[in-house]
Symmetry: C2
Subunit: 599 residues, 2 copies
């Protein structure tokens, strides 16, 4: 079987770089240890090898489709729901009282990395089912939990999140779906929801939609949004007036159904209020933050699979000759494998730097999440702040630079990369959605600069700077790392200068100006955060090379140090171009009412 991810790298990150073992001392995770986690990962890998990876190409070639009110999905999806339910994967994060495994978030992310590298079309179905069940267990009544959650975690009913409406798009302020009180927690639901992932398919016999709607008379805007459980069929088996109005045919992730749902066309759709009225957005965002990490992981994993596919091609394809060895046009020499061409190596190494760096960022985010949720009181707040800071970055960097990584992967194959027989073109299409899902890059960037940087008087950023300094200090033990420490330090100065320019605008209430280059700030900040990940990996690799500790061979650790250097040479300089853009005093993208100069 073709490689699509590296278990060695994943375990290196978990056990050597980020010390996932530390969280097993938390009472929630006391049943886990290194060995049991590795067994869990290996089991997931076996499942991925057998039931996920073999279907990735077919799911693209035979996409889901809509016909006469119903969405038809790939037959394998049924097996995934069944196995996912029976073997506890869907409920892996859940409390044992709900039948879950209480798997740490960090480990769950690692498992999803394996599954999504194997097949990025499938995990969303399970992930959304778990996510919506989790909203019910977190905020719903005991009755709702008992009625819906067991069948969801068993993989019998699919779950979805219904936020977007045609007229509102990303602007939840403008949600119009209505909820009219009936009795108790029951409401009559009416409205249209679009872009609903996993909203209809053949693999489960019921759907449990978590729907944002506005109770009659609720305040306007986001303050008047409530959350409802709206099943397609009620638990007594009667049809609940939820119509699949159509599907969205997409450029990529064509095995992952995206549908348009219509609630209450015949006035017969009942929804059950989750928690309190008008708290819907708050509840949804508890889930949304996790979903953003999952999207980041999906992007990182798709790019990982693309990296391994292009690496394999480069190792097998002879073409041309090395420039140094008598010229690349010398017919007297046998052609070399293309992996020996500097430009091909550059494209492969940059991919490696992006995908392995992304994965490290996501694992670190998982650790913050575990401590923020289940850590002792004295560490919770710090970890919460770090998680909040990391979330938009961990969603955006793998999506944006992962897209570029796949682009390099495709380029490695030349003309074949563009051909449908090879999978690179599919990954190129699949990954493109990631910078749109769950809040576009523009929205994540507003969140980072507009909310996460200023929150708690810049507490999160201070904590991160402390973390980076810590790594720089351990790196300074090794002469080899001195130039890279200097390099990263000068990037830190650049971002400080940028903030010294931007924050006074925020103070002065000039918010549009403050935020107009938020996306460039995101690019800058995320590149620094990945440099920090690489420095961290390189330091651990160096330690293990010197001590002989660590689970991997010398070449493995040398490769990490080499890839850190690749990152610092080829990727990190992006920071300076972002710096120049933001420090440029021209204000060019804010509407000037006088003239319309875009044409």
């Amino acid at each position: 079987m073709a490689e699509y991810m590296s278990m060695d790298h994943l375990k290196f990150l978990l056990h050597e770089v980020h010390n996932v073992e530390e969280i097993f001392s938390l009472s929630r995770y006391q049943d886990f240890d290194k060995d049991s986690v590795n067994i869990l990962l290996d089991t997931a890998k076996t499942w991925a090898d057998q039931d996920w990876f073999p279907y990735i190409k077919e799911m693209d070639e035979k996409p889901v489709y809509f016909k006469e009110g119903k969405v038809y999905s790939h037959p394998q999806l049924k097996k995934i729901f069944k196995d996912g339910g029976e073997n506890g994967w869907i409920g892996m994060y859940f409390d044992s009282e709900h039948g879950g495994m209480q798997v740490p978030n960090t480990v769950g992310l690692a498992i999803n990395h394996i599954l999504e590298s194997a097949n990025n079309h499938l995990q969303g179905y399970l992930g959304l089912t778990a996510g919506s069940a989790h909203l019910i267990t977190s905020f719903g009544s005991q009755a709702l939990i008992e009625e819906f959650v067991p069948n969801m975690l068993a993989g019998k009913w699919g779950g979805t999140m219904c936020l977007t409406e045609p007229q509102a798009g990303s602007s939840l302020t403008d949600i119009k779906t209505s909820a009219s009180p009936l009795e108790g927690e029951q409401f009559k639901i009416k409205g249209q929801k679009i872009f609903i992932s996993g909203g209809d398919h053949e693999a489960t016999d019921n759907f449990v939609h978590l729907v944002l709607a506005r109770i009659d008379g609720a305040p306007a805007g986001t303050k008047g949004i409530s959350l409802f459980v709206v099943p397609k069929y009620r638990t007594d088996g009667t049809y609940n007036d939820v119509i699949t109005a159509g599907d969205f045919q997409k450029m990529g992730q064509r095995g992952y159904a995206t549908v348009h749902l219509s609630f209450g066309d015949a006035d017969g759709c009942i929804g059950y209020l989750v928690g309190e009225a008008n708290q819907g957005l708050k509840y949804m965002f508890q889930m949304m933050n996790g979903a953003r990490l999952e999207v980041g992981m999906s992007a990182a994993s798709t790019a990982t699979a693309a990296y391994y596919a292009s690496l394999q091609y480069a190792k097998e394809r002879p073409q041309g000759r090395r420039i140094e060895s008598g010229g690349r046009k010398n017919p007297d020499q046998e052609p070399t494998l293309i992996i020996n061409h500097a430009d091909v190596r550059r494209m492969l190494f940059i991919q490696k730097a992006i995908v392995e760096g992304s994965l490290s960022l996501l694992i670190e985010s998982g650790m913050y999440q575990d401590y923020a949720l289940y850590g002792s009181e004295d560490v919770k707040d710090d970890n919460y702040h770090l998680l909040e800071l990391f979330t938009p970055i961990a969603k955006t960097y793998p999506s944006e630079r992962g897209k570029n990584a796949v682009d390099y992967g495709l380029q490695v194959l030349g003309g074949y990369g563009f051909c449908s027989d090879f999978i690179l073109q599919q990954y190129y299409r699949d990954i493109r959605i990631m910078s749109i899902y769950e809040g576009t890059t523009g929205i994540q960037s507003l969140d980072l600069l507009g909310r996460k940087i200023p929150m708690g008087n810049g507490k999160a950023l201070q904590l991160l700077m402390g973390k980076i300094q810590e790594v720089l200090t351990s790196a300074s033990t090794y002469d080899e790392f001195k130039p890279y420490i200097k390099n990263l330090s000068s990037r830190l100065e650049e971002i400080q200068k940028v903030l010294a320019k931007l924050m006074p605008l925020a103070m002065a209430g000039e918010n549009e100006k403050f935020l107009s280059d938020a996306t460039t700030f995101m690019d800058m900040a995320s590149n620094i955060v990945i440099a920090y990940q690489w420095m961290k990996m390189a330091v651990k690799a160096k330690e293990n090379l010197l001590t002989g500790n660590g689970q991997n061979d010398q070449l493995f650790y040398e490769s990490k140090i080499h890839t850190m250097k690749i990152y610092f040479k080829y990727e990190l300089p992006r920071v300076t171009s972002c710096y120049q853009t933001i420090m440029d005093d021209d204000v060019l993208t804010i509407v000037d009412e006088k003239i319309e100069i875009l044409a």
Copy 2:
């Protein structure tokens, strides 16, 4: 009809910025003047509106396909060949003695911009037919010209270029297709050619393939390659043993047939030698340089169409509120059009900066081409050098940054951008091939740094620096431009420092090291060349604003100056990151025989 390009911008470039009128004084072009060129462009626009643009989406949705030895193409292709032949478009560049219009290359590029913005799947069919006919008229015998060229220019027979073979890919050194002498200029041809664009379809009843092959006993490598005319049917109507062995289904440009041809399976394939034996590669490259400009134009045009599609969406879609006006979540305000959001404007303006800058670069390249071919003896050599320098850049910049421009266009539409109902996802797929066609970005970059920079002791670069200085001097008349002059000047210093580091490596014969970051050098150099284009456009716009000359209104010229500033703020800083990468002394991408660290 939706806009897909701007005639105003195209005419601004031709008549105001690059003064295409100057070449009408060349004897070859004496029948042209400004009015006749404008009529030609307007006629092309009418044709594009009627027969090209309405089919772009359908050609993707009903792609060409292969069945039982035959490729089936979209019915509209037949009309395009017919009109293209009857109205002289296929032969527009040709000498009047061959029935051509003797259209200047610059004007031809402009016409192709119109056609390819309307539909990037079609022009290649006509362009390759013209290109292969041009090889025959340039180097073939009178008999060959008479036998094949008239039907090609009439759109009755399609022409192709057959270079690539399965085992060789981009390495023409390793071509194996054989040619055994029969009599006179006749040879028996045997071999496989892949990725043949337009190599089979339903629109013409014969195909004239221009095939690179090796005459028995010829020297190894590129010195032993000859060029042959190999028709599918000989002019007496007998079948010439050219089999369509299959097609390549692709991610994009799905209306443009890409096929696998097998020559002489039944030992009955006759080819006619073009020109002299063993000169095939030289002949082919005369054509290839033009083809590279055409690919650049195809990329620039696809990105242009994407820009206009996303601009139209942004002008029509209400969503959210401006940040400044009481907050983006204020439900008491009506949603604004998304074109009013700073981040959306940023994405639109960057697209505009890339696509309009690319077009200017291509028009300037066309001027160099016209002077290099038909100019007086005293200007030919300078223009030849500038053309040689510009060609890899004009092919690569629009392909690489055009790809990013389309990416922004898709992002402007959010989730809809990913959906098949909207055309952005198609342009995103279509443009991806451009950095692979006719020599990948890696190959163009080797050509730029390894051949074009050193040629004639750096003559081309010196000439370019002179051109840039000229524009900076005229810009310095205006205070408004002072900061941008300073900005560009500092980029010029950066590229000088880079060359001062790299050229000694070339002198010392350390070619692999010299060229290992050629692609980064390409990124750097091309961004500077586009900055020069923008400075040139801005200066002309400023002049016209002050004098009241020029064909466009005030807003048009203000928009050019504004977009120049956008380019300088958001795009030009890439130069510094490239500078840092190349100046970094780590050598990381050249194979170290000791270890294999890519895994």
